[in-house]
């Protein structure tokens, strides 16, 4: 098992570190760590969750602006936005590859033997539409009679919420089962669609529908840590694309919005054409010598 898989497992375990719920503790964790947002997509109503979901927290902040202002509470989601922007400015989509529990789930499901399918590139912009509509505009603008918006992405789309919170809580709390209706079945259908798709395709949710990945991706070309391609060394053998968990054709575009900086291409390139830079400067230590560099 490589270093990234270990980091993913540790990050998933830390994000979901509350394991008292099966033994008579509270159904969900209620400690102070819940005021901290996890860097990956992880539902805060998951019985094991020890941190908050940044997308849920962002929607809630936007949905509560007007009633907050009426009682003198000036909350605009700056804490969550600042946190995500700081991580994005440092490393772009790197948290997707190294720290996101839902990303880990997708990579593990894709190991199941099955016919494998490519993801149509025309679907890639959908994640920005979901971010703009369901995470920002609808929660902020569609308000009830008390001035509150709804968490539209959680309510109508999020498959992570259905998997990590919906199904476990319905199993643990029979009182909730009477409330199950079309809304739940709609979300369950979305979850099942993605679970099947995850087996057939590489990280389809990240590539097509993840609003958190969409936010981080905006920083890929301007982050402190960036990947570089040496056109003089690249022979377009497509080894980078074959190992990429997001199916990015690195030989066509370095720092594509779907590049999650897993660094597998760095290892896979036999010609030393893939490198990285820190804020436009080469790394302090020279990259490992490649066969093509050897005298």
């Amino acid at each position: 098992m490589d270093l990234r898989r270990w980091v993913q497992l540790v990050a998933t375990a830390l994000t979901n570190a509350w394991w008292l719920f099966p033994f008579g503790g509270p159904v969900i964790y209620g400690g102070r760590l819940k005021s901290v947002c996890a860097p990956g997509l992880n539902c805060y109503s998951c019985p094991a969750a020890a941190a908050a979901c940044p997308i849920g927290a962002l929607q809630f902040a936007l949905a509560s602006i007007r009633p907050g202002l009426e009682v003198g509470r000036h909350h605009f989601g700056l804490y969550v936005l600042g946190l995500l922007g700081t991580l994005g400015a440092l490393a772009g989509r790197m948290p997707c590859a190294w720290l996101c529990p839902f990303g880990l789930l997708q990579e593990l499901l894709h190991k199941i033997p099955s016919p494998k399918l490519a993801v149509w590139r025309g679907l890639y912009p959908l994640k920005y539409v979901i971010l703009a509509l369901f995470v920002v505009l609808l929660p902020a603008l569609v308000l009830d009679e008390f001035g509150y918006g709804a968490t539209w992405y959680c309510k109508y789309i999020c498959p992570a919420g259905t998997l990590e919170a919906g199904l476990p809580l319905l199993a643990m709390k029979p009182s909730l089962r009477g409330m199950v209706g079309p809304l739940f079945y709609n979300k369950l259908a979305i979850l099942l669609l993605f679970l099947v798709w995850m087996v057939a395709s590489r990280r389809p949710f990240c590539r097509v529908a993840c609003p958190l990945g969409a936010i981080y991706s905006l920083f890929n070309k301007v982050s402190v840590f960036r990947l570089t391609r040496d056109d003089g060394k690249c022979v377009r053998c497509k080894a980078c694309e074959r190992v990429c968990p997001m199916g990015v054709a690195f030989y066509e575009e370095a720092n594509h919005t779907n590049c999650i900086r897993c660094l597998r291409c760095l290892k896979a390139c036999e010609y030393g054409a893939v490198g990285y830079e820190i804020a436009g400067s080469p790394p302090p230590l020279p990259a490992k010598a490649r066969p093509a560099d050897a005298p």
Partner: protein, 44 residues
């Protein structure tokens, strides 16, 4: 500019983060995160 822009963005978002903390936003995140979110379950 290519070298400065990442640090400009980093400072900008760090400032937003600090401002959010100063305004007490982590407490609002906490209040939301410790209650079962019926929307997340798909029943609310």
């Amino acid at each position: 500019m290519r070298r400065r822009l990442p640090f400009v963005l980093l400072c900008l978002f760090l400032a937003l983060f600090v401002l959010g903390v100063t305004l007490g936003e982590p407490e609002a995140v906490f209040e939301k995160a410790v209650a079962i979110c019926l929307s997340c379950i798909g029943v609310g």
